[in-house]
Amino acid sequence: MLKLLGAAAVVFSCTLIGMTVASGYSRRPMEIRALLNALQMLETEVSYGATPLPEALALVAERCDPRIALLFNRASEELLTLRGITARESWETALKEFYPKSALNRSDRTILLELGNSLGVSDREDQLKHLALTREQLKLEQAKAEDDSQRNTKVYNYLGFLGGLTLVLIFI
């Protein structure tokens, strides 16, 4: 009886580990999609509203997917502190905080960092070009992320469960 309970516990916890790893893979495409939407909103604020960047970022943070709101929120807060920092620096600070909590990978981060270099420093047309470029690059990453997610989500879910079973068999 006790053996059976232990076996069940091992299978259960291995399955959970597998699912956690898998969820990392399925979260990334969702977050990228949310980022794409948010950047689209930013584009609208810049092109039609001509909203100043600190407010535009705050507006985007309010309306976008809560999972990525932190990035825009922090960037906006940093800009409003008036410590004499540039948009690039505040974007970098925000990204540094956001990245470890997100499911994004390094190439996603690089794309976002590059966007920081151009934020707010040029006229409207130029800003729109940079935002569009970032969205194009993120779309490519999104396709890859979805591929990865489809492949790996199932793999890790099964791997967790089956790994648990294997352990049980070995121990018994």
Binding site: A50, P52, L53, P54, G84, G120, V121, D123, R124, Q127
Partner: protein
């Protein structure tokens, strides 16, 4: 926003420069906050030019600024403005939103919270012969706007008739002689009323094309302009005067730097509507003004009742003379 503090009375001087300092990058801010207090109080301009020394425009002269925040007479040892400084200043004065300031860049200046102005030069982009934008910004001129409350006290008695009516008044002055400062204070006094001269408070409409009079930031006056004052910010003068005339029922319309033909036409209409006019003109004497084709007509019909001539002979804002518009004779005023 935190920098939007209401105008303070008279400890103003210190805060005025500090307001601007918050918009400078730390490298420049540290230097300028080390300036001696006496200098801080007389700074009129901060000149930031890429690859050249940091300079200040003071009341009577200008000077280079050293790394320690001392005023130097020669370029040796002066702080050199770097490309990074310029980049940071650009971001800070635009609040990282150059794209939102295309209209301002076309005019060559940005108004800051507090009503200070930053003049900007660089490479100009044109489209079909019209200025489209400024790229590669390389020079800034921060003009510190000071509210001198009380600037109008000495001239007001000459501008209000014994029966308590305000005369149509023009302030005539070369640049940087305190024209806008006097105009702003006159607006404030007319708006709140001058009981000692029997003048009740009047509704004043201000057309502030260059955002200098009221120093509006997002439409809200940052300068003390009085309780009965409505401001049309960044509005072309001629159109603005008509708008005020129709919509706000002003008793006095105030505007800055009249000169173009359409301004004159609008002014005439305002005067015909029985509304008092308070305006300024670039120039140093009446004779000079009378030669300008656009103004000749107004002189002919003797539209203005008072001319206040400003100069710098005894410091900024010296009232050189006040002239009666009908007789073109001096009212015998030599004030200091």
């Amino acid at each position: 926003m935190s920098i939007l503090r209401p105008m303070q009375v008279l400890d103003a001087e210190q805060t005025m420069l500090d307001e601007v300092l918050t918009l400078l990058p730390p490298s420049l801010r540290d230097i300028l906050s080390n300036l001696p207090v006496a200098i801080k109080n007389s700074v009129e301009e901060i000149r930031v030019r890429q690859g050249r020394p940091l300079m200040l425009g003071l009341a009577q002269r200008d000077g280079y600024v050293s790394h320690q925040g001392a005023i130097l007479d020669s370029e040796v040892g002066a702080y050199q403005v770097s490309a990074t400084d310029i980049e940071r200043v650009t971001q800070l004065v635009s609040r990282s939103s150059l794209y939102a300031l295309e209209e301002e860049l076309r005019n060559g200046f940005i108004t800051l919270p507090g009503g200070h102005r930053v003049g900007i030069t660089g490479k100009v982009l044109t489209e079909q012969g019209r200025v489209k934008n400024i790229k590669y910004i390389s020079s800034f001129n921060f003009r510190i706007s000071r509210a001198v409350l009380g600037a109008a006290d000495r001239v007001l008695p000459y501008l209000i008739a014994p029966d308590g009516r305000f005369f149509h008044t023009v302030l005539v002055s070369p640049p940087r002689c305190g024209k806008t400062t006097l105009l702003r204070d006159l607006v404030r006094r007319l708006s709140s009323g001058v009981p000692e001269l029997g003048f009740p408070g009047a509704t004043v409409g201000v057309v502030d094309e260059r955002s200098e009079i009221a120093g509006c930031y997002r439409g809200v006056p940052q300068r003390e302009v009085g309780p009965r004052t409505d401001v049309l910010d960044a509005c072309p003068k001629a159109a603005g005067m008509m708008m005020l005339l129709r919509s706000m029922g002003p008793t006095v319309i105030a505007t800055d730097e009249i000169g173009r033909q359409e301004d004159i036409a609008a002014l005439e209409e305002v005067i015909n509507a029985g509304i008092k006019v308070l305006t300024t003109i670039h120039g140093s004497s009446l004779e000079e003004l009378a030669d300008r084709p656009a103004l000749q007509y107004l002189f002919q019909i003797k539209a203005f009742q008072r001319f206040v001539i400003l100069g710098r002979s005894r410091g900024v804002g010296t009232v050189e003379d006040i002239i009666d518009g009908q007789t073109l004779r001096s009212l015998g005023v030599k004030l200091c």
